[in-house]
């Protein structure tokens, strides 16, 4: 596979674990944005974990992507240099020590960020803080031992040691990426985390404006990741373990990403959230209030509006969950809900439309659950489907997720006249019930239930499907809501303003 390269571009998109290698909401959004601005030349910096974690690209690159580069943070974690003993730069390590002291909760964030910036500068190629020193030097070893003694509450030193290494080593790789990146006029990162660090570092060294768009909240999603990840060890024995307390290594990861996030918020302007709850969370996590704004996702109405006419007069009794079969979507709750739905509406069917290859073990568990509930004839796994083909055949879109941002599936359903039953996560309540008074006046376009509550999910779905009147009202409200607030035109206009503002601030324009 060959990728385009260029020697300059207008906008560099910094993408961590999404487009073009991973399909999903964020990737579709990126695809949408790039194609909406054919007048700009985009460069894409893809950051992945390890090369073997990704297959072929899931999306073809749009023509205005003039440059593409991929970097894998956990590949060749250890530098190619033969490990050799070295003392390490004492001054540089004093700087790091000072920075970590400032990270303490009782210290002002501003001074900690100042320390962070000066440390980050030294991590660039040619700086005093080299990756080889971090990996092999005595100074680095002393610091790891010292911090283990002072802070680590988990007994296992080897796990602490490797957590520190695995966590920090990608930063040097990113520093090299930052140094080598082609000249661009605007940076646009689609998350905080490692991509946000790269953006902030580029902003700091090149004085190029950094736009940050957050779909989820990185630290929060990482928290969910970290909660379920088996590989973060917890070595406390039964006496040392306090079940209310996170394993120390999880806390380390969370703290690490929180600081990467602050570093990124400090450099980014504007900081874009999808919806109000997330914007407030960004502010709570350290984003300056004045630089934040909401730009909700939008969809192309023209794609979905014609589908309304294709549906039979009576809504089909089909509940459809459109999404990847992964734990975060809580597909099992949907399957359990289907048991109750089928009990009350024997004609009802549940469809699960999404790829099952991301977490094969979870997908297998879902299939097993369908069998054990005797739902083989009522729940169908369809694999990846085109949304346009599905919409005329279903009566409800279902979201049972335990975490979402602003799910496009709901909006696409609205545009096609399909109401939704969703869990109360992310912006879903806002999408169903409305945000401000004018929005609320449109009426509910579906129903909101609590997470992991199959009974409530089933009852809400049956209430809509069994009552033609209520279903039609919700369908009309959905169409009205999406046309008024969530079209792609509006989103593109808002981003055009964002980009225009950023170009005005780039060094060449001044």
């Amino acid at each position: 596979m060959t990728f385009p390269t260029a020697d300059r571009a207008d906008i560099a998109l910094l993408l961590e674990g999404t487009f073009p290698y991973v399909s999903g909401g964020v990737s579709s959004w990126v695809n949408q944005i790039i194609r909406a601005f054919p007048e700009y030349r985009f460069a894409i910096v893809f950051l992945g974990s390890r090369r073997e974690d990704y297959g072929d690209p899931k999306y073809p690159l749009p023509d205005n992507v003039v440059h593409f580069e991929a970097h894998y943070l956990y590949d060749d974690l250890v530098s190619r240099a033969e490990p050799a003993s070295r003392p390490g730069n004492g001054e540089a390590y004093a700087l790091i020590e000072q920075m970590h002291e400032h990270f303490a909760p009782d210290q002002p964030v501003a001074s900690a960020l100042q320390e962070f910036r000066s440390v980050a500068r030294q991590m660039l190629p040619g700086g005093r803080l080299t990756a080889d020193d971090f990996l092999y030097s005595e100074a680095s070893w002393e610091m790891i031992c010292d911090h283990y003694r002072r802070f680590c509450t988990d007994p296992s030193f080897v796990d602490y040691f490797w957590t520190v290494r695995i966590m920090h080593t990608p930063l040097w790789k990113l520093a090299r990426v930052a140094k080598d990146l082609l000249p661009v006029r605007v940076l646009h990162s689609v998350s905080t985390g490692y991509a946000g660090f790269l953006g902030a570092l580029l902003h700091q060294t090149r004085d190029v404006p950094l736009v940050l768009s957050e779909h989820g909240i990185y630290t929060k999603e990482r928290k969910i990741d970290l909660f379920k990840s088996e590989w973060i060890r917890d070595n406390r024995n039964v006496f040392q373990r306090d079940p209310t307390e996170l394993s120390y290594f999880r806390q380390m990861w969370i703290g690490f990403f929180e600081w990467l996030g602050r570093f990124c918020y400090d450099a980014a302007d504007p900081i874009v959230a999808l919806y109000e709850a997330n914007r407030l969370r960004q502010v709570a996590d350290g984003a300056p209030d004045g630089r934040t704004q909401n730009i909700p996702n939008g969809i192309a109405l023209a794609r979905f509006a014609p589908l309304r006419a294709l549906r039979p007069a009576e809504p089909p009794p089909v509940l459809c969950l459109i999404g990847r079969v992964v734990p975060i979507k809580d597909v099992k709750t949907f399957i359990r809900a289907m048991r109750r739905v089928v009990n009350r509406m024997p004609a009802a069917e549940g469809w699960i439309a999404g790829p099952e290859d991301e977490d094969k073990a979870y997908a297998a568990e879902c299939h097993a659950l369908v069998r054990s509930l005797g739902l083989e004839n009522h729940v169908r796994f369809l694999g990846f489907q085109k949304v346009e083909d599905l919409m005329p055949k279903i009566g409800l879109t279902i979201l049972s997720s335990i975490s979402e941002a602003l799910p496009l599936v709901i909006l696409e359903g609205y545009a096609a006249g399909v109401p939704t039953v969703s869990t109360d996560v992310g912006s879903c309540r806002q999408l169903v019930e409305g945000l401000d008074d004018a929005d609320r006046a449109i009426g509910p376009s579906g129903a909101i239930v609590n997470i992991a509550d199959p009974q409530a999910l089933a009852d809400a779905a049956v209430a809509l499907l069994a009552d033609g009147e209520a279903w039609q009202a919700a369908s009309r409200a959905g169409i009205a809501r999406v046309e008024r607030y969530y079209t792609d035109r509006m989103m593109f206009d808002r981003y055009r303003q964002v980009y225009d503002g950023a170009f005005a601030r780039c060094p060449e324009a001044r």
């Binding site: 003993s85 092999y136 070893w141 296992s156 030193f157 080897v158 796990d159």
Partner: protein, 457 residues
């Protein structure tokens, strides 16, 4: 020598005086077995023969010939001893037992070919004009002894110490008996007994190995020649260490004022050799202590250290285990020091009587004293080298071997030049300085052990 640890711990766990004595006696015999038997055997042959009809110069010729055989074969096989031990233990770690025997045969083939070629060449270069029977016996002895050393290191690697000691004891008893019976045939008779005894030893060891590793499979393999499985540093170490140990002896043999021609171009140093061989007998107690300490205490904490590193122990625990390792090394070296001091004092007291009993002139006494000290220091040096092998610091061991060789050559040359009063000091001083620098390096290495273990591997 990890396998010996279990037996020693079993004896020590009895926690009785007898158990303790047993443990040290066992360790002493195991640790110094093969070459103690060779030295004692040669001395005994000399003792029995000299008192009877055989002319004494024939006995000297015999002893010198055997000494050259031992030295030559040890230095030549030094090239493969350590490297092959490592190769075998790697294969056993990979659970590839079936590869042991074919590779042993491969190595034996190469060693025997090399020894035959080199030996045949030396027959013409070093022993021209001597009787065909003598020359052929020398060639056979050289080849057989080379093979014996290869099998000895293999069986040591297999932890078959008891078998090795028993085989050596039996063979050398046979050699003494045969030599006494074959005395009437003169030098060829004595040497014939020696060669035949070694052949029996070789066959015994080979049968033991076949018995242990009888797997159906190819007879010959040369995996140990493969680049990724070979250890050039270990080859260099084995060769240089043996060369270093023998360097001062060779210099005394070929420095005219201290030596005389014995047979062919083989020379010997009457004033130097006997004290040296006697002094090596004094290190038996030191070797015993060394084995007990290193193979029980040190290895125990060594294993705990690496288990804790891999298994998620706390840094404090890891450091404690490191400290315990250091402590057991200190204890071991301290005890070697004490016990060798006792051995040295005993030699000082009993030396004159011993020399009288052996019919050796009192003139040898000062040299014996200084050689006993040197031999004692050599035990400590071997202990230090062994610890470095455990820590897999082959470069440091190589450095120490080079240092030992250079210093031994240099100081021995200086003492030869300065005169008889200083004979023996060259070797002792070389061992002392090598040991001192080894201790400095060991101390540094141990203080950085966790750093190197975590950061540099």
């Amino acid at each position: 020598m990890a396998g010996i640890g279990f037996e020693l711990r079993r004896l020590l766990r009895k926690n009785t005086l007898i158990g303790l004595v047993e443990a040290y006696a066992y360790a002493g015999i195991i640790g110094s077995g093969p070459w103690v038997f060779s030295i004692v055997g040669i001395l005994l042959i000399g003792l029995f023969s000299a008192s009877l009809v055989v002319p004494s110069f024939l006995v000297t010729q015999f002893q010198t010939s055997v000494t050259y055989l031992v030295a030559g074969s040890l230095i030549l096989t030094g090239l493969v001893q350590l490297a092959f031990t490592r190769f075998i233990s790697d294969r056993l770690f990979e659970k590839k037992r079936e590869q042991v025997l074919p590779n042993l045969h491969g190595l034996l083939l190469i060693v025997i070919l090399a020894a035959s070629l080199l030996g045949s060449l030396l027959l013409f270069v070093a022993l021209p004009g001597l009787g065909v029977a003598y020359r052929l016996l020398m060639l056979a002895g050289f080849v057989i002894m080379c093979a014996v050393w290869v099998l000895t290191v293999l069986l040591s690697g297999m932890k078959r110490y008891q078998a090795i000691v028993l085989l050596f004891a039996g063979s050398y008893a046979l050699i003494v008996v045969l030599s006494l019976l074959l005395r009437p045939l003169g030098l060829e008779g004595l040497l014939g007994g020696f060669v035949f005894g070694n052949l029996v030893l070789l066959c015994g060891m080979w049968l033991l190995t076949v018995h242990d590793f009888a797997d159906p499979g190819p007879f010959l393999r040369f995996d140990f020649l493969r680049r990724e499985l070979a250890y050039p540093t270990l080859m260099a170490i084995g060769f240089l260490y043996n060369l270093a140990v023998w360097a001062d002896k060779f210099m005394f043999w070929y420095f005219p004022p201290t030596s005389e021609p014995i047979i062919g171009s083989f020379r010997a140093s009457l004033i130097y050799d006997l004290p040296v061989f006697l002094s090596y007998l004094s290190i038996i107690p030191g070797m015993a202590v060394f084995l007990v300490r290193i193979e029980t205490d040190f290895v125990e904490y060594y294993n705990k250290f690496y288990d804790a590193v891999r298994g998620g122990g706390s840094l404090e625990f890891i450091e404690n285990m490191r400290d315990e390792m250091v402590y057991s090394i200190q204890q071991g070296l301290g005890e070697i020091g004490k016990i060798q001091t006792l051995a040295i004092l005993t030699t000082f007291v009993a030396g004159p009587a011993l020399l009288d009993a052996l019919g050796i002139s009192q003139l040898y006494l000062p040299l014996l004293y200084v050689q006993v000290i040197g031999a004692g220091l050599q035990v400590a040096l071997m202990a230090v080298l062994n610890v470095f092998f455990y820590l897999d610091q082959r470069r440091i061991v190589l450095f120490l071997c080079v240092e030992f060789l250079l210093l031994n050559v240099l100081f021995t040359a200086a003492t030869l030049w300065l005169g008889a009063a200083l004979y023996g000091y060259g070797f002792t001083l070389a061992v002392l300085l090598t040991l001192a620098s080894g201790l400095v390096l060991l101390s540094r290495q141990l203080s950085r052990l966790e750093y190197e273990t975590f950061m540099l591997q």
